[in-house]
C-alpha cells in the first residue's frame, strides 16, 4: 500500500502565505479551507484532467448510460460474432484484432464479443468495487484510528495490535478459499451481486489498518493541540471533542487517502479476478479479461492491450487527481 501521507493539522487554522500576500491589495476576503483548496486545485491542470477522466468514467458507468453508449458505439457485450473468428487459432480473422467501424476496439478471441462494450461494462464492476471497498476501509479505518489515537492506553494497544494482525493476514489466499465456500445466496444476495459484495468485503475489510494507522497518528498529534485543550478546559465532553474538534481536521487526509486507495483497490479487484475469484462470466470485468488474455496473447495481442490500458489509464487518473488534491489541501507536503 501507499506510504502514509503527511498532513499537518496546523493547516486547518493557519492562513497560507499566498493568501496573506493577496490581502494587502484587495479587500480582505474571508475564505474557507475548501475555497482555498479549490483555488489551488484549479491551477493544477494535471490533477484536473485526472479528475475529469474519473468523472467521465463515472458518467459512463451510470445505469442507462452504459447500455446507450455501448449500443451506439458497439454491440451488446454478450453477443457472439463467431463468423469473424478463426475457428482453429481462435483469433479474429481480420488484422488488428478485428478493429472495424462496428467493433472499434476489436473482438474478443474465440467468442468474438465486442471488446469496446465489454471494457465499458467492465468499468462498472471495477469502479463499483473500487469505490465501495474504499468506503468500507475509510469508515472502519477512521473510527478505529480516531479511537486509538484519542483515548490511547490499553484501547490504543488493543487496536494497534489488531491492525498488525490484519496487516499480516494472507489476504489473497483467504479470498481464494472464501470464494470456494460461499453459498449461492447470502443476505438475500445471489449471483454476481453476491460476488461483488464478497469482493467489497474482502478488499475493504482487510485494508482498513492502512488508513487506520494514519488517522491514529494524526489524532495523537491533534489531541495535544491547544484548541483541544481549550475545548477540554471549557468542559466539552469526549464526544464533542472527537466530532467537533478532531474529525473536521481529519477530513483532508481521509479524502486524499481515499482517492489514492480507490486505484489500489481497482488493481486488487483485477488481481483477484485474474486469479479466478472475481465476478462470474459472462459479465465482463477488467481483471477477468486480462486473465483470459494471458492465455491468448500470442493469438490476439490486442486482447491484452485493451483491458490493460483501461486499468492503466483509470488508475493513473485517480492517482493524479489524488496527488493534486493532496497538494491543494496541504501545500507543504509537496
Amino acid at each position: 500500500m501507499t506510504a502514509p501521507i503527511e498532513v499537518s493539522g496546523s493547516e486547518a487554522e493557519a492562513q497560507p502565505d499566498a493568501v496573506l500576500a493577496g490581502m494587502e491589495r484587495k479587500a480582505i476576503q474571508g475564505r474557507s479551507l475548501g475555497q482555498i483548496a479549490w483555488l489551488r486545485l484549479k491551477r493544477d491542470k494535471v490533477a484536473l484532467s485526472g479528475g475529469a477522466f474519473v468523472l467521465l468514467l463515472i458518467f459512463l458507468s451510470l445505469p442507462g448510460v452504459t447500455g446507450l453508449v455501448a449500443g451506439w458505439l458497439g454491440s451488446p457485450p454478450n453477443d457472439f460474432h463467431q463468423n469473424l473468428i478463426d475457428p482453429t487459432l481462435g483469433g479474429p480473422l481480420e488484422p488488428l484484432g478485428g478493429i472495424s467501424a462496428e467493433h472499434i476496439f476489436g473482438l474478443e478471441p474465440i467468442n468474438g464479443r465486442d471488446l469496446f462494450s465489454r471494457v465499458l461494462y467492465g468499468a462498472r464492476v471495477s469502479l463499483l468495487i473500487g469505490v465501495l471497498a474504499t468506503m468500507v476501509s475509510v469508515v472502519i479505518g477512521t473510527v478505529m484510528g480516531i479511537t486509538a489515537g484519542y483515548f490511547g492506553g490499553w484501547v490504543d494497544t488493543l487496536i494497534a495490535r489488531t491492525m498488525d494482525v490484519f496487516l499480516a493476514f494472507p489476504l489473497v489466499l483467504f479470498a481464494i478459499s472464501l470464494v470456494g465456500v460461499i453459498p449461492r445466496d447470502l443476505f438475500g444476495l445471489t449471483g454476481n451481486n453476491l460476488r461483488i459484495a464478497i469482493l467489497v468485503f474482502i478488499i475493504g475489510f482487510f485494508n482498513w489498518p492502512y488508513i487506520g494507522r494514519i488517522i491514529r497518528g494524526q489524532t495523537m498529534s491533534l489531541r495535544e493541540r491547544e484548541f483541544v485543550d481549550a475545548a477540554r478546559s471549557m468542559g466539552a465532553r469526549n464526544s464533542t471533542i472527537l466530532f467537533k474538534e478532531i474529525l473536521p481536521n481529519l477530513v483532508a487526509p481521509v479524502l486524499v487517502y481515499a482517492t489514492l486507495l480507490i486505484p489500489t483497490n481497482i488493481l486488487f479487484e483485477a488481481a483477484l479476478s485474474f486469479l479466478g475469484v472475481g465476478i462470474n462470466p459472462p459479465d465482463p470485468s477488467w481483471g477477468g479479461m486480462l486473465s483470459q488474455a494471458t492465455e491468448l496473447y500470442s493469438v490476439a495481442p490486442h486482447f491484452v492491450i485493451v483491458p490493460g490500458l483501461a486499468i492503466f489509464v483509470t488508475v493513473l487518473a485517480f492517482n493524479l487527481f489524488g496527488d493534486g488534491l493532496r497538494d491543494a489541501l496541504d501545500p507543504r507536503a509537496r
Partner: protein, 585 residues
C-alpha cells in the same frame, strides 16, 4: 491416471487413448539412422525417424515435478510412462503405435494373467534371470511386497487404490505397520517365480489393473525407505538413477548394466543417458523444443498457446507436430437430481450450440465433435448415434425441438439453473459462456459460477451435497480412463455405486437400476467383445437419459524436435512412448 493439467478426482484418473486408426506404423525399426519422414500428424499413427541407433543424451523437461518417482506412488500418465525407464511391471502396455498400444503385454511375467475360480484368482509366472541394478535377482516375493506396500495410503498416497479395493486382504495395514508379510493374504507366492492374486469378487479386467500402473514393479524389501523411496527407487529397468533425484530440480539416469534386453521386447532403450530438468517454464520448454535443446516435454499434454500459434502458422514447424486424440472426452454432465424431468434435460441437449462449444476447445486441432461418451480409443467402442444433438462442427442447436421438449416438461417458458466450471480453465469458461448464450434463446437461464480447479472435482461439482444445495444443473467435466476399455471409461462415471460424497466422478448422479445391474454383471463376463457390447449399451442409455451432453474428444498438439528419433504416439499413455525414444547426433 492423471494428466498434470487435468487432475481428475482421487479415485479416478485418466489416461489416454489411441486413435481410431489402424496401427499402420508397425514395428519396422530397421532403417538405422532415421528416415526424416516428418509430416504433420505422422507420429500419431506411425513411427517417425525410426531408428535403432544407440547413444546420445535424451533431454526431458517439465514445468512442475512428478508426484513421486516411486512407481507405486504416482498417478500421472506421464509419470507412469516415464517410470518404465527404471522399473518393470508384471505387465505393461504394448510398445506399438496405434490401437495396439492399449493392449497389455507381458513385462516381468511370461504371459498375461491366467484367471481361475471365475476370474477371482489371477496367476502370473515370472521370466527367469531378471536382475535389479545391484545384480540381485528379481523374485516373486518382491512383487508381493510391492503390492502389499500400496495398502498403506498414509505412506503412498498418490497412486491408484485398485489393489486395496479388489484384493481379498481385509484389514491388512501394509508392510510399514505390519512387518510380517505372511499376514498379507491378497497375493500368494507358491514359489520364487509365481505370483497369485486373490480377489474378493470376480473381475475380468484384472490384467489392466496389474499393467496400467507401476504398482507391480518389484521393490526389494531391504531397500524400501517408505515415503523416501521415491528419491532413489531401485532400478529393474534399462536405466538407473545417478545419485539421488532432486525434487523440483531433476535428475540423471544412466544405463543399468544388469538389465537384460533379451527379456524385454517393449523397451528399446536407445540413449546412453537421460536428463530430466524440472521447474522449467512451460513456454520456455516449448521454445527449447523448437530449437531441439530439449527433446521431450514430459507432461505430454501438448504445447502452450504461444507455441500452438507458431506451429500452426509455420508449415516447417507444423511438419514436426502431431495432433492425436489425447484420451479425454470433455463433456457436460446434466444432473438428474437437480433436473429430474427427462424432457427438460433433453431441451438442454437440443438447444446446445455444439459449434461454439467446439470452437471453445480450439476447433479441429483442439478436438473432434463427439457422439458417444466413450472416446474413439476405447477398445470396442462404437460411434453410436446422435440422439438429441448433432456431432457436427457447424451445428448451432435446434431451438424448435428444445422448445417442444420444454413444453412436454411443463416449463414452456424455460427454467433457471446453475452451471459450474473451472475458473482457471479458459476453455471451460468459454464452453460455459457458449452454452449460456445458446440456452438463453429457448428461455433456459444459466447462472454461471466458476471455481478453482484445485477444489472443483472434490468440493463443488464433485460433491452431491454442494450440487443439491446450489441448484447446480450442469457443469464442465472431462474424463480419461485408467485403462482403455469401456469399464475403465464408463464405470466410474455412470455406476450408481460410484456416487460418493466428495470427489464424485459421476456428477450427473445417474443411478439407473438397469445401468447398475449391467455393471454388476459385466465384471464376470470373460469375453472382451461381449463386455464391449454391454459398455456400448450403457453408453447409449446415458445419452438416452440426457444425463450427459457430449462435447469434444480432446486432441493434443505435440511437438517432436527433428533430432528426436523413433517417435510415436502411444495410445496407452496418451503421449509419446518414452522408453523407445532416441536422439540423433
Amino acid at each position: 491416471m492423471k494428466s498434470p493439467k487435468v487432475v481428475a478426482s482421487t479415485a479416478a484418473g485418466l489416461v489416454a487413448l489411441s486413435l481410431g486408426l489402424s496401427a499402420c506404423g508397425g514395428g519396422d525399426d530397421d532403417n538405422g539412422g532415421g528416415s526424416g519422414d516428418a509430416k504433420f500428424d505422422a507420429g500419431s499413427t506411425g513411427i517417425v525417424n525410426a531408428s535403432t541407433q544407440k547413444g546420445g543424451t535424451l533431454k526431458m523437461a517439465q514445468p512442475d515435478d512428478f508426484d513421486s518417482l516411486d512407481p507405486a506412488d504416482m498417478y500421472y500418465a506421464y509419470a507412469l510412462n516415464f517410470a518404465r525407464l527404471y522399473s518393470r511391471n508384471l505387465l505393461t502396455y504394448t510398445s506399438k503405435p496405434g490401437d495396439a498400444g492399449t493392449a497389455m503385454s507381458p513385462d516381468l511375467a511370461e504371459g498375461l494373467g491366467v484367471p481361475s475360480d471365475g476370474s477371482k484368482t489371477w496367476t502370473y509366472k515370472l521370466k527367469r534371470g531378471m536382475k535389479y541394478e545391484d545384480g540381485t535377482e528379481i523374485k516373486a516375493q518382491d512383487i508381493k511386497y510391492a503390492v502389499a506396500r500400496t495398502f498403506d495410503r498414509s505412506v503412498l498416497h498418490n497412486g491408484p487404490s485398485y489393489f486395496t479395493q479388489l484384493l481379498d486382504a481385509e484389514g491388512y495395514k501394509g508392510p510399514f505397520k505390519d512387518k510380517n508379510l505372511d499376514n498379507f493374504k491378497g497375493v500368494e507366492t507358491p514359489d520364487d517365480y509365481t505370483v497369485v492374486f486373490k480377489l474378493k469378487a470376480p473381475f475380468s479386467e484384472f490384467d489392466y489393473v496389474v499393467g496400467f500402473s507401476g504398482q507391480t514393479a518389484p521393490v526389494p524389501a531391504a531397500k524400501d525407505t517408505g515415503a523416501r523411496y521415491g528419491m532413489h527407487p531401485v532400478s529393474s529397468g534399462p536405466y538407473k538413477l545417478e545419485g539421488d533425484y532432486q525434487a523440483k530440480k531433476g535428475g540423471v539416469w544412466v544405463r543399468n548394466p544388469n538389465w537384460d534386453p533379451a527379456t524385454d521386447p517393449n523397451r528399446k532403450a536407445l540413449p546412453d543417458r537421460i536428463e530430466v530438468q524440472s521447474g522449467l517454464k512451460a513456454d520456455e520448454i516449448d521454445n527449447r523444443l523448437e530449437k531441439g535443446d530439449v527433446h521431450v516435454d514430459l507432461p505430454g499434454s501438448g504445447v502452450q498457446a504461444a507455441a500452438r500459434q507458431r506451429i500452426l502458422t509455420n508449415p516447417k514447424l507444423k511438419a514436426n507436430a502431431d495432433n492425436p486424440l489425447a484420451g479425454f472426452h470433455w463433456y457436460i454432465p446434466i444432473n438428474v437430481k437437480t433436473i429430474p424431468n427427462l424432457e427438460c434435460r433433453k431441451a438442454i441437449v437440443y438447444a446446445a450450440d455444439r459449434s461454439a462449444m467446439y470452437r471453445a476447445y480450439g476447433g479441429e486441432v483442439g478436438g473432434e465433435v463427439s457422439t458417444s461418451i466413450q472416446p474413439p480409443n476405447v477398445a470396442g467402442r462404437e460411434k453410436g448415434t446422435d440422439l438429441y444433438t448433432k456431432a457436427d462442427p457447424n451445428f448451432t442447436g435446434d431451438p424448435t425441438q428444445a422448445k417442444a421438449a420444454l413444453a412436454k416438461c411443463g416449463k414452456p417458458n424455460g427454467f433457471s439453473t446453475t452451471m459450474v466450471f473451472r475458473s482457471d480453465r479458459p476453455k471451460e469458461k468459454a464452453t460455459a459462456e457458449a452454452l449460456k448464450q445458446s440456452l438463453d434463446k429457448v428461455g433456459i437461464k444459466l447462472e454461471l459460477q466458476g471455481f478453482p480447479s484445485g477444489t472443483y472435482t472434490n468440493e463443488q461439482f464433485g460433491s452431491p451435497k454442494f450440487v443439491a444445495k446450489n441448484n447446480v444443473g450442469l457443469g464442465t467435466y472431462g474424463w480419461a480412463p485408467d485403462w482403455n476399455t469401456g469399464y475403465g471409461y464408463l464405470q466410474p462415471i455412470s455406476d450408481g455405486k460410484a456416487i460418493v460424497d466428495t470427489g464424485n466422478a459421476n456428477p450427473e448422479e445417474l443411478n439407473d437400476p438397469a445401468v447398475n445391474k449391467m455393471w454388476n454383471d459385466v465384471v464376470s463376463v470373460q469375453d472382451p467383445a461381449a463386455r464391449a457390447k454391454t459398455y456400448n449399451e450403457i453408453d447409449h442409455k446415458i445419452r438416452e437419459q440426457a444425463a450427459i451432453l457430449p462435447n469434444v474428444y480432446a486432441k493434443s498438439l505435440l511437438f517432436r524436435p527433428a533430432n528426436l528419433t523413433n517417435v510415436y504416439f502411444h495410445a496407452g499413455y496418451g503421449m509419446y512412448d518414452y522408453v523407445n525414444l532416441g536422439v540423433k547426433g
